[in-house]
Structures are given as structure tokens and as C-alpha cells.
Subunit: 768 residues, 2 copies
């Protein structure tokens, strides 16, 4: 059985020999090179765009301006939920770096030179950069007009929110808040801030587009080929069948490659020139194409003296930047603002807010990361104040099977006790003091516990083809982006069809051929696409059994697949190979479909939350995670090391233990970087001042924990896969943050916790 084995990635040889076909390496004959002219203003009306000089510049094949967005042939507005984006700006720009025009030229240098010849006249408008500021009645309004919404119920609020900077507002009301606070014996009020950070995939955004006879082909590094397809079809008013999105292996995605970015402009330029056009984002541009939502979370938590949580009042302000993008959905993750804990009385308002900053996008940890930073820091503040062990406080409140979540839904068994106890044992939580001083180094331990939902409702479909030689092609639109998905899916397919992994080949997405998948994100793909492939192979299996039942004169229910053969259970030597079965069928291949749809709570109700009360079902599957760590703070330099870090997750059935662990290790390191270093810095005009790999810090090998470990809780006999891809980021941040706070004796509420902040806190403490 391939499933459960720590096999090497199926593309490992290509990886180590530098032979992966990244889109960046893809070229077409006669290909032109595109570049974007970007706004120098955070908020301005566009008075004039004159690209005539650029158009005449030698080597320029076409320029693209807002003039190209007018006419019946095009609907320039697109967006994941709110249709508030255009390929280049129409009437106004809303952030520094918004595309205003584009050029396609024979080479990149010519394109860059031509951009300088485009005359744009702006009329500057007042700008707003902070989400709370943007909510004020007199704040500059980014979208004064009506809104266009394409996604389900979001339009109900979107309509009522026109005339504000609110992208979306999600509310939760549960119990009786006033009564809850009256019952509380102590109340804690704090505000927690997570800054904007960048995905920083090593592969930049890159798109190649070709248009022939109205039919559009786009090669693009996207996590979401079908969403790109839908949006391109919408913009260019062509059937989905005529929009072909081809995706190769990505050099990282992390949520930053889910929405249309460069694609619409590339298609427009390809359409204008009749030639293929490639646009590659320079590194500085990648910082403009999507960031993790800056977020402020205000928590007011009422507790009993024994640590029992009684009431929470929470306000989440997610800074959406200039476009709605995924915000209307992402900000509903405010449902986890109280963490994985029982809270009888709750008021939660979660805002997505337009501001004049670079647009926010989905980011690995999807809205949970920010609230987890808040609730887990708050938990440690409470524990300290009540003199409780932070672990005990969590164990006292953590959700048990049947407990009601903030959505009102009853929780399944989430194994929190097992996970927490295993994690603290691993780190030796009780063996040594939580804080130890050793010269100018202070060592301290920390913990973070979180709950995370999965994208729901969710659909994956797959087609499989069992070839005449008994090898298998799996057609899927899921995206390999370094996470090892091709390997996991190959293992699932190999196990289901009972073949060695070497005889299974998993496709890359090509929407002309591969069936629908919702996206490769949200820790969903191994689970959802894995199940779709299972269904597709079940379809093949039925066909094999039909053939074999006749041929072997056996009842279908007695047949099993084993090592490329159909066997009769309990009858040795009676078998039919797949090759012979296909020959019998005369079809030369067998074809199977699989559809996996998940969108129901345990009682069968659809996963849907009421927007006014937040009650309902929040996710078809809930992902728990615990991270524990030990940090070492240098009191002289303020520098932090994380010598030990351990992640503990419920994984259900583990497909490939090593890949699973590696993915979680990566997530842990993401968390580490975000606590210690990462932050997009903006000047007062709204320009990002550190959009490069020198000034924007991410963890280096120097920063890796000496002991970095992962434990996957995989109960005996479990068969269902449980998503784990991103679940370690949200707890990693507060685990490290809490340990630092413990070491320094000061609760840091704002990220990142830089050396400067630590030294300042140590200084203040000395002075107390």
C-alpha cells in the first residue's frame, strides 16, 4: 500500500536537478514581454493617460490603457467576490503601485523604457491607510459607487455597505454578553496587532497569454486555475470552454497566487498584438500583488477566577487594502477570535476594510493567524493574572466533543487534550521551570493552540484513465507548489487501484482537459482531491469488476484489486490482470470520474453561517493544532533564538508522513518569521519601503530551531485524511510570542517582536 509510506516526492529527481518546468522558464515563439506602469499615488483620480509616445517607441508592439477597457466586447471588472478590480485603473488609483497602463515590447528593457514615455495626469485624493481610520464617517471613500458582487450571500451585506469603506462585516452573537460580563470575576481588555506581511514565494508571479481567434490560453503560476478561467471568461465574454488555463509546478504559492493578478493585462496585450505576451512581476511588484491582511483584534474577555471563560467581546479589523479580493470570505474567520475554547456569551464583529494600501489576499493561515495571535496572547495574559499554568488554563476551556463553538455548532472530537498533553510532554513543559535564566540568556517556554476551518462548501473533481498497459493517468486541476501534492495524490491513486506509485502519473492543471477543482489552498487538496480521485477509481474498479465477474465467473462482491490484478477473494490463482481486463473490454482504456463535494455539518445541514448572528456551520471539517516551543532571549542584544519547536496536529490518515511533517515544519517556520521579523513597512505616502529581499526579513537557516519536530496524531484504524498544510502557522506565532513575553516579563501585543522592542521592554522592566 502506497498510502502511509514516506516515499520521495514523485518529482524529486527533477527538483534536485533543477529541471522543474516553472512557468518562468516557459517561452513561446514570437513571445513579447509585458510590463506594467504603476501609480505613484495612494489615492488619486486619473485625469489623463496618454500612451501615444510609448506606442511609437521602437520595439513596442502595443500599449494597454483604460481606453482598451471600454466597449461591448469587454467587461473590465473582476474579483473573487466583489468585482472591484480592473486590468488597469479606470478612473482612479487606490494604492501606490496600482497598474495604470501596460506595454508589450520585444524585450523587457524596451518595455521598461516605454513605460517612462506614458504620460499620466493624476489629481491626488486624500488617502487612508488604517482600517479603523477608514471606518470613520469622514474617512476618504475608496469606492463611492454601487458594488458588484458575484458570490452567494455576500451581496446582502455588500449592498447595505455601499457608501462605506467596509468590504464586508461578519457578526456573531451568542448568549447574553452583558450577563456574561456580569458573571465574570475578572475582565481583560487588550488590542493585538498583526502587520501586513508578504507571501514571498521564491517564484515571482508570471503569466504568458495567447489569444487566437478569440480563444484564450494562459500559462500562469496560479493556485486556482478554474478561478482564473472564470474571471478571464467573464472579462472577455467567452465561454469557459474557450479559456484554457495551464499551470505548471509553482515555486511556492502560500495563498498569494489564488486570484487574477497579471493575467487580464497579459491577455489584453496578447489580444492587441496577436502574439503571445509574458509578464513577469519584478520582486518589488510581488509585494504589491497581495499581502497578508494587516489586522487589529480587540478582545474583552470575562473569566471566572478559576480560569473559566465566560464572555468575550471581540472586534476584528482586517485591512483589505484596495481590493475586496478574498476578504468577504476571509474575515468570517473572526469566528475563531475566541480560539478553540468554550465561550457561552459572545459578541464578535469582524470587518474587512478598504484602505489605500496594497491589496490583501489569502495567506497560508487564512485569517486565523491574526485572531490566533490575539486569543493565544490573551490566554497567557489571563493565565499570568490568575496565577494559572497556561497549559492548565487551556485544558480547562478547550472544546470537547459536543461543545458548542462560536457558530453554535456542536464540535466533533478534536483531540485537543491528547494534542496538548503530547505537545507539552515533548517540550518537557513540567520538567523544567517555564523560565530559566542563564547569564545574559533567558530561556522560556510557550504554547499556542488554535482551531481552523477549511474552505466550505468545497468541490473537487477528477478523471482517471487506466491505460492499456495497466498504468494510470490521474487528471486533476490541483496544483503542485512544492507541498508534495502530486506525490500524495499519486499515493492515494496507487493505493486505491493497487498499483506501484511508479505506474501512476498525476497531471498538472489544464482547464481544457482537467476537471474542476475549487483551488489548491485551505489545507483542502489531499483531503478533497484525494477523495475525488478515490471516487474516480471506484468508477474504474466497478468496470474492472464487471469485466472480471464475467471472465472469472465470480460474484462481483467477491472481487478485490491487488497488484494490478483482479482477484477472487479466498481463491488462489484465479485472477485477471488489468491489462487483460482492458483487452476484454476492447476499449483500450478505462475511464473513471470522481466528484467530491463537502458542504454539510455533521447533522447534514449545509455549511452556512447567518451573517447577523454568525450562527450555523462554519466548516465541513475543523483542524486543530498545537505548537509549543522554547525560546532563548539574549538580554544584551534583544535577539531571539528558538532552540526547540514542536507542532502537534491531528492528521487523520497520514498519506506520506515525511512530506506531511515537512509541510508542517515549513508552516512552523512561517510562524517563526512572522513573530520575529516580517513586516511590510510603509512611508506616509503609502509606499512600501522594504519591498526587496534585503530589507524584508524572512528566517534564514541561522534562525531554524535546532530541534524542530512534528507529531501527527493518527488514531489506529482512521481512514479519513485531515488537512494539515497551513495549520501550524497560527499557533506558532503565539507559542513563540508567549515564550518571549514570559522570558522578558512583558506581554507583547504587536507583531513582529523585534530585538528593539525586546530591549525596550527589558529596559522598562528594569526601570520599574
Amino acid at each position: 500500500m502506497a498510502v502511509g509510506q514516506a516515499i520521495s516526492m514523485v518529482d524529486s529527481r527533477l527538483r534536485v536537478t533543477g529541471s522543474i518546468d516553472y512557468t518562468l522558464n516557459f517561452e513561446l515563439p514570437r513571445m513579447l514581454h509585458g510590463a506594467m506602469l504603476r501609480s505613484p499615488h495612494a489615492h488619486a483620480r486619473i485625469v489623463k493617460v496618454d500612451a501615444s509616445r510609448a506606442a511609437r517607441y521602437p520595439g513596442v508592439a502595443a500599449v494597454l490603457t483604460r481606453d482598451d477597457l471600454i466597449g461591448d466586447h469587454i467587461d473590465p471588472y473582476f474579483g473573487l467576490i466583489l468585482q472591484d478590480q480592473t486590468p488597469v485603473a479606470l478612473d482612479r488609483v487606490r494604492y501606490v503601485g496600482e497598474p495604470v497602463a501596460a506595454v508589450a515590447a520585444l524585450d523587457n528593457d524596451t518595455a521598461a523604457e516605454a513605460l517612462e514615455l506614458i504620460d499620466v495626469e493624476y489629481e491626488e485624493l486624500p488617502a487612508v491607510f488604517d482600517a479603523e481610520e477608514a471606518l470613520k464617517p469622514d474617512a476618504p471613500l475608496l469606492y463611492p459607487g454601487p458594488r458588484r458582487v458575484i458570490f452567494g450571500r455576500a451581496d446582502v451585506t455588500a449592498r447595505s455597505l455601499a457608501g462605506t469603506n467596509i468590504v464586508h462585516l461578519f457578526k456573531q452573537r451568542k448568549g447574553d454578553l452583558a450577563q456574561g460580563f456580569r458573571q465574570s470575576e475578572q475582565i481583560f481588555e487588550n488590542t493585538f496587532v498583526s502587520p501586513a506581511v508578504n507571501h514571498l514565494a521564491l517564484e515571482p508571479h508570471v503569466t504568458v497569454a495567447q489569444v487566437a481567434d478569440g480563444r484564450i490560453t494562459v500559462w500562469t503560476c496560479s493556485q486556482n486555475p478554474h478561478m482564473i478561467q472564470r474571471q478571464i471568461a467573464g472579462i472577455f465574454k467567452v465561454p469557459l470552454a474557450d479559456v484554457r488555463i495551464i499551470v505548471f509546478t509553482l515555486g511556492g504559492g502560500f495563498g498569494g497566487k489564488l486570484n487574477c493578478k497579471l493575467e487580464p493585462a497579459a491577455v489584453l496585450l496578447a489580444q492587441k498584438t496577436g502574439r503571445p505576451v509574458r509578464i513577469v512581476a519584478r520582486r518589488a511588484e510581488c509585494f504589491l500583488l497581495g499581502v497578508q491582511h494587516e489586522c487589529k483584534v480587540k478582545l474583552k474577555t470575562g473569566v471566572k477566577r478559576d480560569g473559566s471563560l465566560v464572555a468575550v467581546e471581540a472586534y476584528c479589523y482586517y485591512n483589505s487594502g484596495a481590493y475586496g479580493d478574498t476578504s468577504p470570505n476571509l474575515i468570517t474567520r473572526g469566528y475563531a477570535a475566541t480560539g478553540p475554547y468554550r465561550v457561552p456569551h459572545l459578541l464578535m464583529d469582524s470587518y474587512g476594510v478598504y484602505t489605500n494600501t496594497a491589496p490583501s489576499a489569502a495567506f497560508r493561515g487564512y485569517g486565523i493567524t491574526q485572531v490566533a495571535w490575539a486569543h493565544e496572547t490573551q490566554m497567557d495574559i489571563i493565565a499570568d493574572a490568575l496565577g494559572l499554568d497556561p497549559v492548565e488554563l487551556r485544558l480547562k476551556n478547550v472544546l470537547q466533543k459536543g461543545d458548542s463553538f462560536t457558530t453554535g455548532e456542536p464540535m466533533p472530537e478534536m483531540h485537543y487534550n491528547e494534542l496538548i498533553e503530547s505537545a507539552v510532554a515533548k517540550i518537557g513543559w513540567k520538567k523544567t521551570p517555564l523560565v530559566r535564566r542563564d547569564g545574559n540568556k533567558i530561556r522560556a517556554k510557550g504554547i499556542g493552540v488554535i482551531i481552523k476551518g477549511m474552505a466550505t462548501p468545497t468541490t473537487s473533481t477528477s478523471t482517471v484513465k487506466l491505460n492499456a498497459d495497466g498504468s494510470l493517468n490521474v487528471l486533476t486541476s490541483s496544483v503542485e507548489m512544492g507541498q508534495g501534492l502530486k506525490t500524495a495524490l499519486a499515493q492515494i491513486a496507487a493505493s486505491e487501484i493497487s498499483l506501484p506509485v511508479e505506474r501512476v502519473r498525476v497531471s498538472e492543471p489544464d482547464t481544457a482537459f482537467t476537471p474542476f477543482d475549487l483551488m489548491t489552498a485551505a489545507s483542502r487538496s489531499t483531503f478533497c482531491m484525494g477523495n475525488a480521485i478515490r471516487e474516480a477509481i471506484k468508477d474504474i474498479r466497478e468496470q474492472l469488476f464487471d469485466i472480471a465477474a464475467t471472465h472469472l465467473e465470480a460474484a462481483k462482491e467477491d472481487l478485490v484489486l491487488q497488484d494490478g490484478k483482479i482477484m477472487v477473494r479466498g481463491v488462489a490463482g484465479k485472477s485477471l490482470s488489468y491489462v487483460d481486463a482492458i483487452r476484454q473490454s476492447k476499449a483500450s482504456n478505462l475511464l473513471g470520474h470522481g466528484v467530491f463535494v463537502s458542504g454539510s455539518g455533521p447533522d447534514g445541514s449545509p455549511v452556512v453561517m447567518d451573517f447577523e448572528t454568525g450562527q450555523g456551520y462554519g466548516s465541513a471539517e475543523w483542524h486543530p493544532a498545537v505548537v509549543v516551543c522554547e525560546v532563548e532571549v539574549d538580554t544584551e542584544t534583544g535577539q531571539v533564538k528558538v532552540p526547540k519547536m514542536h507542532a502537534e496536529l491531528y492528521a487523520g490518515k497520514v498519506i506520506n508522513p515525511r512530506l506531511c511533517e515537512l509541510q508542517i515544519e515549513g508552516a512552523s517556520i512561517f510562524g517563526l518569521g512572522q513573530v520575529l521579523f516580517e513586516e511590510l513597512v510603509q512611508d506616509t505616502n503609502g509606499s512600501i519601503t522594504n519591498p526587496n529581499l534585503s530589507d524584508y526579513m524572512i528566517p534564514s537557516f541561522e534562525d531554524m530551531p535546532a530541534a524542530l519536530s512534528v507529531h501527527l496524531l493518527e488514531p489506529h484504524g482512521v481512514t479519513d485524511v485531515h488537512g494539515v498544510g497551513e495549520t501550524a502557522i497560527p499557533p506558532a506565532r503565539p507559542a513563540i510570542g508567549n515564550a518571549i513575553s514570559r522570558a522578558v516579563g512583558h506581554h507583547f501585543l504587536d507583531l513582529p517582536i523585534t530585538a528593539e522592542k525586546i530591549l525596550r521592554a527589558l529596559e522598562e522592566r528594569k526601570q520599574r
Copy 2:
């Protein structure tokens, strides 16, 4: 309903703007250019191949010699049925032009220069070029060793034929020949010769190969992606799932692009270099990569004085050239050596024979063309001798429903009477004399009637994807090669799913994605793949009906598809659009498979003929065709014009009348070229002396009939498609030939009928 409409080709805009993506225009980054060193000898033992100087030549990335074909990683032998080919020659060469080595270099010039540095030492062997000569006991033997066979029953004879030059021998025995000749009142014995001709697709053979981590991708202009896939998988010992064959639109195929040609060498060079390698055949090489079988047919026909055919003794000698290729199957078309006529007593031996000439391949008309030349010329000879009208003679003998064919199988209704009568009416057969003299011009009429089978057993499979917007992707491995197949399949799919053709997109083959199709040849694709697509859409329709039955509260059997909606029959206004149905399904697309297998005679017996008696079933479907024409012979120059030409075919349900007619017009012109001009000329050493577009003549626009027409017999209410793609070539040749013979007063038995031959015949006639 899209079916039945003469819509423009779906790729017509691309065609007229020169934007078709031919493989010749396809490039990959870092691509190398390959070239083949070819043998100067028709038959020789290879003593030595030393490519060391070429390998050191600047700009050369790799050389390929027989040394690369040795080892456990490779099985160098391939072939459609007999595995007698290797990527480059191993121990001997068997025709002038056989590949001996290959080079991959930075550009074509360097590759060509490097070829000259390869030292090959040959030991010449006696050669044989004529099929009959090659059958003599003392003829040089091309394959002295045992044979490797991969195709069904062919091995039975192949084994017994080792030690001869016979590729395959197919026999038919029916009735009592001796008795038949005794009953005959007149006996006619003649030998008819068709020379080798070239397919002359305007697009040359071109292949680009890439190998990464053992996985092989080949972009190639092939009519048979799955056969290329199978052979490459066999040579390189990898699963079919790891061999990806991608085929774009072909610039003509005509049977010449069915087998592996340049692909194995390109893959080997790509494997050696780790870079993509392209090999383009120069025009002269295209003449070496496959030709129509030169063929000699000896007919001894016994008749009654009233013209009834009584007995035929027939010997067909198909010159297979140096490789078996398709010959073991093609030569069974000797079953039509007597034409579409009742022949109670028959002996027929059909030989495929190895000779030291360029390998023969499938060619539009597939083995029928050569025997049709024989039987239809023979029919006119008989008519003349008996003083019968050639049309009357044919009507007297032509197969009627229930008559027994040479295979012994009862014929279905083939509509010969209707076809012949309609054709002769069109040409005014009886209105004017069959021969008219006008100064130095002689006008005469001619007719040809044939029967043709289809590749059987035959399999096509398809997958279809109904997208969220109700547009449809059809996944097929069928090849568009100018015949309009994409259009016909789109029309079939559009009609079945009840959508406009514009919302249907038909894929090109990509074996990683598209399911199995036997090949695009044999006039089978519209019929076979059309039916597979119908089945696939039936699968979708069932899903749509299931959803709609619930949603519309209607019985499934009352539902119909109409204009993108599911309607309840007889209930106005009650409907569900595909878009809404897919939304209901939550799957975001619906997937359907279709499998079409045809391999049975009308009584359900498998289509299989006994190799010793030729009795059984020869085809799942029989294609009749009639061509009539009027020629004008210039008695001073010997030149022939064909002012009128008309083809009459049974077409069953016509999908696209205009495309269908155009395809038949093309076939008619193929026939015209082959009667009047086409012939590969060889010198005594076996070199082709006219492998170029100056010396090898094909029809020009000057040669087109002023009146070229087609009539498709499409009985009212018929629903089954009937293949027509190549059926007009076989009758076109004798129709023109018979008209010339009638004009000149001399029966020409050998093709082509050049001006020189005509002048000579006119001269001889004068002298009589």
C-alpha cells in the same frame, strides 16, 4: 441542430490568417536540432559506424548510433505489427535512405555538417526492388532471422514466413475455381500496375521530443498518437502513463503519418542531451518516410457472354519496401480484388513483400486503390470485349443486399444501383456518345465503382466536460489534419447536448489527458469518434436528467435537452438550464465518458477473416463509391484534361455537407493526380530520382476539373454516419483511366497514364 449544417470550419479564421499551431512552428527553450544520416546503399551490412569526429564537432550536443540501442534500458525494435524497425540501423541497411546515425546540434546547419563527419563502413549486399522478384527462391533475403510480431493472429503466418521476403500472405478461397472457369464463356487475363506514390502532405514530418526524469513528451505530427505512445513506451520500457504524445493540427496526413518515423530518434537524442530535440524531415526525406505500396495485380476473370462474372483468380503483389509497417493488415484488402461484384468462384492470393525500396505505408485508399485500378480496368476490358455498356456490365454484377462478398459475408444494402444511376445521370452517360472526337481532341467518359472496408475492430473513446457556464469541452485523441474533423465532432457534440457549436470546443490529442482513439484514418473518425462522443454526452445527459427530475419534479423519461436547458416534454415553461443544473449538482462541472467499439458483422460475429480461406467478416462497415468523369485527350500532345468529374457516395447521415463534399473533392483530385502524373522513379541502385516538388508532379489548379461535383446519398431519416473520407480515390483512378483508354482506343494497364504513353498508344493504333 448543428448536425447537417454546412457551417464553416471551427478553425477557419485561424486557417485563413495563417495562425494554425502546426508542430513545425513549435519551439521549446534550449531546443536542439536533429538530423539523420541516411544510407547511400539499398542493401548493405554495416561494418562500422564511427561518430567520434562528429561528436567533437563544435555545436554538436550528441550523436546517436547503433551503439545507443544496446542495453537493458532499451528495446530498439518497433513497428505497427511486425517489429522490424529500429531508430537507426543496427546490422544492415535495407533501402537507400535508411537512417544510420543522427546528430543533435545547436542549429540545423551544424547538424548537417556533423553528419558528414560520421564514418560508416558498408559491405554491399545484392538488392531486390520488385515484389515478384523478391518472391523468387534465390532472391536476396532482407530479414534472414526470426520475426517479432505484436499483432493478433498475424504471427501465425509470420512464423511460417520467416526465411522468405513475404511480409504477409492473405488468401481467399471460395467456390470451385476450376469449375468456375469451366463454366465461363470467356476468360480475361491481365496484369495491372500501380507505382509507388508519395503522400506529399505539405507539412513535412516533424517531431519535438523532451525527456525529463525518464518521462517522455513528444510533440509530433501524427495521425496516431496512441500508436506512437505505445511504440515509444515499448522502446524505452516506460509505462504508457509516462509517455505523453501531443499532436497539433496536421498539415495533411493521408496515411503517411500513422507510424513512428522520426520520434524514436528524437527521443533518444533528447534523452542523451537532456534537452528538447526537434527533427524536421527535409522534403526529400519525406519521400523516404512512407509511400503508397507499389502493387501489381494479376486478374484472370471468367465471364458468361451476358457479362455475368463467374470466376476470378487474382494475385496481388504489394511491395512493402524495407519495413512491414502496416502491410500485414493492408494487404488483406486483396479481398476487394474482384471489386463490388458477385463472384461465385474465387482464388485470391495477396502478398506483402519486402524489397530494398523505401518503406510503404498506409495511404488514403488503403490497399483498395491498387486493386480498384485492376478490377475496374478489367471490367471495361470485359465490357468492350463483350460489346456491353460498361455501366450495364457493372449493374449486372454489382453486389445487392444479401449477396455474398469474397469473404463469404452477406452484404448489407449498399445502394450501388442508386449510386451508379445517379452518377451516370449526372455525367449524361447516355445523352451523348461515350467517345466524341472534336478536331485533335477526343472526349470520352469513364466510370469506376468500388467497395472499401473500414479499420475493424475499431475503438474510440472520449471524455466530455460540461462547464459551469454550460459550455462543453470534448476531449478526444482524434486528429484534425485539414479534413475538418474538429468541426464535424463539434457539430455532433453540439447537437447531442443541444448547444450552439460556438459553445463546444474539441480538443487536440494529448495522451496525458485525452482518452484512447485507434487512429485518425480509414474514414473512421466522424463515425467512430462521433459515436464515442455521443455516448459521452449520453452519460452527461443522464446526470442532467437525474438532477432535473428532482428539481422539476418530472419523470426522467419526460425530459429532453433543448438549447442549453432541460425541458419537460409538452410542459411549456418548466425547465432548468444546464448552468442551474450544474449549480444544483455542486460539482461545478459534469463529466461524461463515451466508448465506441465496433467489431462485429451484422450477425454479431467478430470481424475476422480466416487467413487461409479469407472467409469471415472483413469490416464492420462497408463503403461504396462511384466516380464518373469525362476526359479530353489531346491527340497531338497526349495531354489529358478532365473537364467533368463527379463522385457519388453513400454517406449515411451527413454531418457537414460542405466539408464532406470538400473532402471527397480532395479525394477525387488525389485520384486524378495518381492516374495522370504521380510516380516515384528509382534508379538502378534504388535511389529515388524525383524526391522533390519539381520532378514529382501532383495536380495543379490547371489540372482541376472545370466541373467537379459530389453527391452524397443520404436517405431520409438515416441517423448513422457513414465514413467517406478516402472512398473517392479508388474509383477516381479507373474512372479517368477508363475514359482515357476509351478515348485512345487502348486499355492502359499501368499507371500513371502519361502523355508519352498516350502518344505511343495513339501511334501504335495508327500503325494497326
